[in-house]
């Protein structure tokens, strides 16, 4: 019987200061460790406990896990005090990450589970019937909306774009941070722009030398049209989700038709491609306290789901009616 609480030992091979209070750690393992973008791993430092993190590096180097960690508590404080050559424990990966390969790996388990559950509901609120889901042969673009540290679990996807996404998939990023100094992974911005990723930044308050957008991340929706025929991948603090969802709903309500049942990108009467995103195409990564990682301890439960096992990435349509989910 496998012991799911056992950890693998990983040696810190490099450390880089990312922004104030945040460091990046490269952890080397003796064996291969395979994960997909958006999945979580548990970091263990005996004496200080464990916590869940989403790796942020390239996933094809299976012996290295890259973490970007803010010093917020005891465990992360201890990690920040550690030096190259010291070791930590890792277990996982757990859960489901972002839907990939044009959504062919669409979370089979949790979503099948939720569909069964919600079909049983008597009020017919569930709209996610598989016949209306976007079909896999249709290309789908991705709108990434992130705030603060939210880019962390999406960087793995961006760095492994050719592995997980079709070459035609367009990517647009709306990224909000408090100040220009708080943007993570600035080293990658030029490369992403070269790859024709539409990266739009915003900061909370105007400051000297900043010529781009000012305001919370939703301000970018008013400034730039969102990429057509897209799914939205959201990651950030809970408060951000409320405003983004509100924004997306406003967009949907502003008269533009949503996707057709056949999965064809719908066209507006003027022949423009759809720039609305239905709640079946909104995915969000949720944070919860976790202890076991395997859906037993109950700390991360959200309605019928466990964040560690069925998430951390959920489809909005599946969780929107659960009190306290967002």
């Amino acid at each position: 019987m496998i012991n799911p609480y056992q950890t693998l030992t990983a040696q810190i091979t490099d450390i880089k200061d990312e922004v104030l209070n945040m460091k990046r750690f490269w952890l080397k393992l003796d064996e291969e460790f395979d994960y997909s973008p958006g999945q979580i791993i548990f970091l263990s430092i005996p004496g200080f406990g464990e916590a869940a993190f989403a790796p942020c590096g390239k996933s094809d180097d299976k012996r290295t896990v890259e973490l970007c960690v803010r010093h917020v508590g005891k465990l992360t404080g201890k990690l920040h005090a550690m030096k190259i050559g010291e070791s930590v424990g890792i277990r996982g990966p757990f859960g489901h990450g972002w839907p990939l390969n044009n959504f062919q790996n669409r979370h089979p388990e949790p979503f099948a589970k939720s569909q069964d559950k919600l079909r049983e509901g008597s009020d017919g609120r569930y709209e996610g019937d598989s016949s209306t889901l976007p079909q896999n042969d249709k290309k789908k673009n991705i709108l990434i909306v992130v705030g603060g540290m939210g880019l962390v679990p999406l960087r793995t996807l961006l760095l492994n774009r050719e592995k997980y996404l079709s070459p035609e998939t367009k990517i647009q990023i709306f990224y909000g941070a408090r100040t220009p100094d708080d943007f993570l992974f600035k080293e990658n911005f030029d490369r992403w722009k070269k790859e024709e990723i539409d990266l739009q930044l915003t900061i909370d308050k105007a400051c000297l030398g900043w010529n781009e957008c000012v305001g919370v991340v939703t301000a970018l929706f008013d400034k730039y049209p969102i990429v057509e025929n897209a799914a939205a991948f959201l990651c950030g603090p809970p408060i951000m989700y409320k405003f983004i969802l509100q924004k997306l709903q406003e967009k949907n309500a502003s008269g533009e038709p949503s996707r057709t049942a056949s999965g064809e990108p719908s066209r507006t009467t003027s022949g423009e491609p759809s720039r609305t995103i239905s709640e079946n195409d909104i995915y969000m990564s949720l944070e919860r306290r976790m202890h076991c990682g395997i859906g037993i301890c109950q700390h991360c439960a959200i309605g019928p789901f466990y964040t560690c096992k069925d998430g951390p990435v959920f489809r909005y349509a599946d969780i929107k009616n659960i009190p306290g989910a967002i």
């Binding site: 012991n3 609480y5 005996p46 919860r288 109950q298 700390h299 309605g303 306290g324």
Partner: protein, 348 residues
């Protein structure tokens, strides 16, 4: 099996095993280690605590750590413990433990060392909210090693009377102890532990549907005003199994134990995450001294408790996460009565 043969079985067991049995103490039935075979009491009184800790202990060591490496804590091999006197209401909780911890190596090694002797005495209606009835044909759906079914002509109650049991062996282990104690007149049945409740139209299905699809905040807000978040209900509840992992250092530098201990969804830290203080709306609120958490109000916590038992457990394990023992009400300092709460949910 008559009372003389029962005594013979118990004295055989006490010679060969460590026994925890229901016994009378100051007029109450308690579960304690049995030192005198005559003291075992099987009757319809519900022990104050359930049998939970024998299956899911308050705290157990998962690993000994030294630096970064974790060595699985040693588990006792082959030393059998007898649990004597599990009543028909509490017996159901074992099905749940077996399902929740089916793939848990620590649970399984402990479980293999338990020998369960259950009986069909049912507590009175106040401690049998699910109106469980004993039916012989349903026995195979439960999980036990020996089952003692008091015959209908026996007097069921506090007073010591002549009781005849029909005896069932639910496992090879059960058969072995019966044979070795000199008792042969038992019936062997295959325990499947497969209890699956027919939910269609049942009250339990209504609770599940109401909690899943018709959330009524009023019920929980009202309870949230009364509940003081003491967590006593989670301690006595046979089906509360949530846990946390704690690192407990020893005096040696870099050494200690990683333990798994009971937790309670009413405790402040249960849903807490690291990060800056936030107000109830999620907005930063400097100096509030509260770490961000996802179960912020008492109402959310008590809803979480009920949702787990009456929606999430049924969805995951096909049984209700409540055996109906009413222990939660008996320990509640503010008198929250699960019976009344469920009536409110039903009628909401």
């Amino acid at each position: 099996m008559n009372s003389r043969q029962f005594s013979k079985l118990v004295s055989y067991l006490s010679k060969n095993y460590q026994i925890y049995a229901t016994q009378e103490e100051n007029g109450q039935v308690v579960i304690d280690e049995l030192h005198d075979a005559k003291k075992a009491v099987l009757d319809n009184r519900l022990p104050f605590y359930s049998w939970k800790r024998f299956f899911v202990p308050e705290c157990e060591s998962l690993f000994e750590y030294d630096g970064v490496s974790l060595t699985p804590s040693s588990r006792e091999q082959g030393k059998q413990t007898v649990l004597l006197g599990i009543n028909f209401v509490d017996l159901k909780s074992i099905i749940l433990y077996d399902r929740v911890f089916a793939a848990d190596t620590y649970y399984q090694s402990r479980r293999n060392n338990l020998l369960i002797i259950a009986h069909n005495f049912l507590p009175g209606p106040e401690n049998n909210l699910a109106h469980v009835e004993y039916k012989e044909e349903n026995l195979k759906q439960y999980s036990f090693d020996v089952f003692l079914a008091a015959q209908e002509n026996s007097v069921i109650g506090h007073k010591k009377t002549e009781i005849e049991y029909r005896v069932f062996a639910g496992s090879e282990k059960g058969e072995k102890v019966l044979r070795e104690s000199g008792y042969k007149d038992y019936q062997r049945i295959e325990c499947l532990g497969l209890l699956s409740e027919d939910r269609s139209g049942s009250a339990m299905n209504v609770f599940r549907d109401k909690l899943t699809n018709h959330h009524n905040p009023k019920i929980w807000e009202e309870l949230g005003r009364r509940c003081i978040e003491c967590g006593k209900c989670t301690i006595v509840c046979p089906t509360c199994f949530c846990f946390r992992l704690d690192d407990t250092p020893s005096l040696e530098v870099g050494q200690g134990q990683r333990q798994r201990c009971w937790d309670a969804c009413f405790y402040q830290e249960f849903s807490e995450v690291a990060g800056p203080s936030t107000g109830s709306t999620g907005s930063p609120q400097a100096g509030s001294g509260q770490a961000p958490k996802f179960l912020k109000t008492t109402a959310e916590k008590i809803h979480f408790w009920y949702y787990h038992k009456f929606a999430r457990i049924p969805d995951e394990h096909s049984i209700t996460g409540c055996v109906g023992c009413h222990r939660c009400y008996q320990v509640c300092p503010v008198g929250i009565d699960i019976k009344k709460v469920l009536e409110d949910v039903y009628n909401s």
